[in-house]
């Protein structure tokens, strides 16, 4: 238990350190720093415009109202903040091929944790977090969120997002065997694109696939509906998200163990 709490403290400290490094790095280049804000506003504005246009055109997305879609958008930004930690998986194959993954194997950290922490754009995540929090405060004030479901809704979003990103990480680990795996990852990405839309517009079979196999709906759609009070018994989604997360983490751990034995550290 003590070693677990020590490890938590260690990673919390590192989390703070990498956040600081990311901010300091962004501050080195003032124009780039300013553009980070503009970029975030553009990305969010683009999404908001998309949904607003659908409303203006009278195209109803399922049974979603304007405020509900705003909550959906807010949860999607929160989920994106968590997903940022997994973006390092995208470049894992390059680090494996040129041997620069070595540096994560010679430090007293879990190699994958060390790797993804070093690759994460904490600064961008912080900006998104501020934006999503502001939107959430507005929604809370307008009474659209069922408060007693808030905790479980956010827990499902966090665990569901982590579960999906572990799946993404698992695909990325194939690089230890096959080198370049760009196309395999693209296939998973094409699935992931669907998360941008409320998935309850799909038929039940597809929704089931995106819930129980590729847990996309557990990232945004289901957490949003929990926060809106749509479900009587949201705890089952929490159990489902946790179950999938545990299954994926066990598989990830076993695959990583084998993968590290295959690592050839080429390039030097």
């Amino acid at each position: 238990m003590t070693s677990f709490s020590n490890a938590l403290q260690h990673y919390a400290r590192l989390f703070y350190r990498y956040l600081r490094l990311s901010i300091v790095e962004n501050l080195q280049f003032p124009l780039d720093f300013l553009m980070s804000f503009v970029d975030l506003l553009f990305q969010t504005g683009e999404l908001a415009l998309f949904w607003w246009s659908l409303f203006k055109l009278g195209i109803i997305v399922g049974k979603w109202s304007g405020d509900e879609l705003l909550l959906f958008l807010t949860i999607s930004i929160f989920s994106d903040v968590i997903s940022r930690f997994a973006r390092g998986f995208r470049d894992l194959e390059f680090h494996l091929l040129d041997g620069s993954f070595d540096q994560f194997l010679v430090r007293p950290l879990h190699p994958i944790m060390g790797y993804i922490l070093s690759q994460t754009n904490f600064f961008g995540g912080l900006l998104s977090l501020i934006l999503a929090s502001s939107s959430l405060i507005y929604l809370l004030a307008s009474g659209r969120v069922v408060l007693h479901h808030a905790l479980i809704g956010f827990a499902v979003m966090i665990i569901g997002t982590c579960a999906f990103q572990l799946l993404y990480g698992l695909v990325s680990l194939l690089a230890f065997w096959f080198g370049k795996i760009y196309m395999a990852r693209e296939i998973l990405f094409s699935f992931a694109d669907a998360k941008k839309y409320p998935l309850d517009v799909f038929p039940k079979t597809i929704l089931g696939f995106f819930t129980y196999v590729v847990p996309l709906s557990l990232m945004i759609t289901i957490p949003t509906k929990i926060l809106l009070g749509t479900y009587q018994n949201p705890i089952r989604y929490f159990i489902l998200a946790l179950g999938l997360f545990v299954i994926f983490i066990v598989i990830f751990k076993v695959v990583l163990q084998h993968a590290l034995r295959r690592y050839e550290s080429t390039g030097s």
């Binding site: 194997l105 010679v106 430090r107 007293p108 030097s268």
Partner: protein, 303 residues
């Protein structure tokens, strides 16, 4: 008690249908405070050797013990106690002041605050980097960058220091500076230093032992004293080339030639006989008899 022990270690790589033997039946030990120079031509197996020590690679056969741990199985415990620096890779954040990378290492290795302050003050002073720690790494010279790389590698007081071609690209002054720190760490803190290098001067100046690897096999494992004895058994003869100098390329023991001289490396016992032979060839040759350098001795092993 040795800090590192390798028993009959082999490492194979699979490349398509064939198996490449990167290291073959290697035995090796290292003691606390020893500085060991690992030399050999490109592709000899030096990097594979150090990566096995760090736990980056898993041996195909044989047993490795580093500080009592099996590196690939106990990587977390081991890495807390070793410092690794790859000369061609940087652990510093390029765009921001170097001090931020120093703090990152403090947090990664969970260095006690008092120890951290003490070692940071001591070694930033010795390495002469105190004044540049606030400078972004991208604005530093290669020498400054490598000194800071060394600083972040030794802050957590490693028991073993593994350096893969650390002096690559450094000028003479920086190299000497770098070498003196390694000697200090080995003598004062009893750190075992494993140094892979192509720079024979690194080995000649600071190493207590020289291990030569080629084609994945250990061809030589010799202490400095043994090496001095080997050097004293060899002689180097240099003949100045002038317009009227005869062609000496057919002579035995020829090691190198260029437009200015011929260089012969031969056993000391054969020196007199060889000189007589040269003089018989041409009596007015300008001949110099030199003390062999380390690389003159290692040359044959590199072939």
């Amino acid at each position: 008690m040795p800090t590192i022990t390798l028993n009959d270690v082999s490492k194979n790589y699979k490349q398509k249908s064939k198996t490449v033997e990167a290291l073959v039946n290697l035995d090796f030990t290292a003691d606390p405070g020893e500085i060991i120079g690992l030399v050999g031509p490109n592709g000899a197996g030096k990097s594979t050797f150090v990566k096995l020590l760090c736990g980056i690679l898993t041996p195909t056969f044989g047993k490795i013990s580093v500080l009592g741990w099996q590196p690939d199985r106990n990587r977390h415990l081991l890495t807390q106690n070793i410092g690794v620096m790859f000369g061609n890779r940087s652990s510093l954040w390029f765009n921001i002041p170097a001090i931020e990378s120093v703090y990152l290492m403090r947090d990664i290795y969970q260095i006690d605050q008092t120890l951290f302050k003490e070692r940071l003050n001591k070694y930033s002073h010795i390495l002469e980097v105190s004044d540049i720690l606030q400078k972004p790494v991208r604005e530093m010279s290669l020498g400054q960058r490598i000194r800071i790389e060394l600083l972040v590698t030794i802050l957590h007081q490693p028991k073993i220091l593994i350096l893969d071609e650390p002096t690559l690209g450094l000028d003479i002054v920086s190299k000497n500076h770098f070498r003196s720190i390694l000697v200090e760490l080995a003598r004062v803190e009893q750190t075992t230093v494993i140094l892979t290098t192509h720079d024979i001067q690194d080995v000649a100046k600071i190493c207590d032992r020289i291990v030569l690897i080629n084609h994945g096999k250990k061809l030589l494992d010799s202490t400095k004293t043994d090496f001095q004895a080997m050097i004293s058994q060899q002689a180097v003869i240099q003949v100045r080339r002038e317009e009227n100098t005869s062609d000496l390329t057919a002579q035995p023991f020829l090691r190198e030639e260029n437009p200015e001289w011929y260089k012969f490396v031969l056993p000391n016992a054969s020196k007199t006989e060889f000189l007589t032979q040269l003089m018989a060839c041409q009596s007015d040759l300008q001949i110099q008899v030199l003390r062999p350098e380390l690389e003159d001795i290692l040359y044959d092993f590199f072939q």
